[in-house]
């Protein structure tokens, strides 16, 4: 069974009199353990597609199924809870709660899940270690570099033990060294822990590292190949 499955997925925006087909009848399936990049020009619909898959936006038509569950049918609060339990998110920026330390940010999502203090503390430590930030775990986001913040965001995304991690241009604000580091970490987690990653990017270095490339244009998949 695929982790993610979309059928005939469309999202139409009304722009005055004209309609924008941001995502246009996309059929896509992602298997467990994939390391997949969605690429395409600006405005091609990458963010819209990821939002639909992550249950942040409602499709105009078509279906999104995550681990067999048709999430487009869920009500608002069910969807919030589904995201909490099944999907890890890494956004382009402002991922973290500014008033919490790195470790508290990672713990926070487990707290929302209702995990015990012990469990939270040990897992947060473990994950921050995995992203190479055990020294920084008591710092607040404002005291971390952009790359370090994104690594904390990855640790947080994994803390909830999600089915997969969605990342919309996670390296867009990073310099090349930080981009390399983040990719190394994501790749390692993918290889060693089997974490499924689905991300969008413009960045050639990220594209080079992806194992499957989905190219979208005008809301449609133009090519889809393993590399």
């Amino acid at each position: 069974m695929s982790v993610i499955e979309t059928q005939n997925l469309s999202r139409v925006y009304q722009d005055g009199d004209s309609e924008i087909h941001a995502v246009d009848k996309i059929d896509l399936s992602v298997e467990a353990g994939e390391f997949t990049a969605i690429i395409g020009p600006s405005g091609s619909g990458k963010t819209t597609l990821l939002n639909l898959i992550g249950g942040l936006d409602n499709p105009t038509s078509g279906t999104v199924t995550v681990e067999g569950k048709p999430i487009h049918q869920l009500k608002d609060n069910e969807l919030i809870n589904f995201r909490l339990q099944h999907i890890g998110f890494v956004f382009q920026a402002y991922n973290l709660i500014p008033v919490l330390s790195a470790r508290e940010n990672v713990e926070f999502i487990m707290l929302l899940q209702g995990q015990s203090k012990q469990e939270r503390e040990s897992r947060a430590k473990e994950l921050l270690q995995a992203v190479g930030l055990e020294q920084q775990m008591h710092k607040r986001p404002s005291e971390l570099s952009g790359g370090q913040q994104q690594r904390v965001a990855v640790a947080r995304a994994l803390a909830s033990k999600p089915s997969f991690v969605l990342a919309d241009e996670p390296t867009a604000n990073l310099d090349s060294k930080s981009t390399e580091d983040l990719l190394d970490i994501m790749h390692k987690l993918n290889k060693e822990e089997g974490i499924t990653f689905l991300f969008s990017t413009h960045d050639q270095r990220v594209i080079d590292r992806a194992e499957r490339l989905i190219y979208v244009e005008d809301g449609k998949i133009k090519s889809d190949e393993k590399q």
């Binding site: 942040l56 809870n81 956004f91 402002y94 709660i97 008033v99 929302l112």
Partner: protein, 406 residues
Amino acid sequence: MLFKIAWRNIWRNKRRSLITLASVAFALFFAIIMRSMQLGTYDQAYSSVINATTGYMQWQGEGFWDKQSLERSFSPDSLTWQQIEQDESVEALLPRLESFALLASDNSDTKPGFLKGIQAPLESKYFKLDEKLLEGSLPSASNNGVMLASGLAENLKIKLGDTLVIIGQGYHGMSANGKYPVVGIADLKNPIANKSTVYLNLQELQYLTGAYNQLTAAVVVPTDPKDLYALKNQLQSYTDTTATDLMTWQEMMPELIEAMEADSAGGLAILFILYLVIGFGIFGTILMLTAERKPEYGILLSIGMSRGRMALSTFMETAFLSLLGIASGSFLALPIAMYYHYNPIELAGDMDAMMEDYGMEPLLPFSLDSSIWLTHGSIMLIISLILSLYSIITIYRLNPVKAMRR
């Protein structure tokens, strides 16, 4: 951790939070000081008038309050005097006979005056009459003299030891004329009373007016003057209500209460405007804060924080901030209210004259009634919690995708 987030969020924008906190504190400080002064003044005014005139509650002959005449006096036999005195809610019951007369001395024209027949030991014990004495002594059966209010003594140009002439009408049309030595002069504080009152021993006045064994008032000194209405109902059962009326000071002096309430309403109107202004200030803060936090709310909603928890967190944040302001405002107001409670402001000028018209001492003691703090603290808290609904509503309507777009 929600608590932690809410608390730390307050200090994210220190300057803004401190300004908000200060404006809440200031508004509350101002409100408390103002109400403390107003309510303290009313209490003072009430008790000044009550002590100088009617007491909290009194029995009178039927219809006496409408037409204050000896003809409407009553016999103490129509009350079950002992039973009333033994009632737990009653501290004491004081007999009085009051009448009007013309007064004269060797050195002046006649002046109108107010005769009060009393039992001096009781009046001293419960109304501190002895403390008002400037010179001489209180009227008694043995000295058989009169005590004059100092203002009246001045007008009559009469001194201790001189003779006062009383020309008046007694009970059932009898004449009531007499000559008495002045045995005491007292400063009655209450300005009207101080210009007109003559105290005599009760029996002497009964004798002078021919109203033997009659009273115009039996003054109830309650153990607790708070709930006079209940006390009145309770006491009325002891009494033959056809011969007497039992009246509280509120019933006897409604115009006094009206005057105070009008003044109080003016004060409350000012506070209403103040709360409105401060409310808009707080709302401005909440508006800015909510707009700033929108992307953050979007992220939290995306990663799976429920709207309820997010709402609770901002609600706590507003509550903490306003509670801090409320605590500082209340705390700052306390020493000032305390100072002026024990060292009342003495009024001069117009206010002084106005208060004298009502027969009050021109003093402004502040009230330390905890209900002032409680009332205005709660108002402030409720205002800010209502305003925090704005962020709560925003959170409930938030669309994560839109919120994260910049």
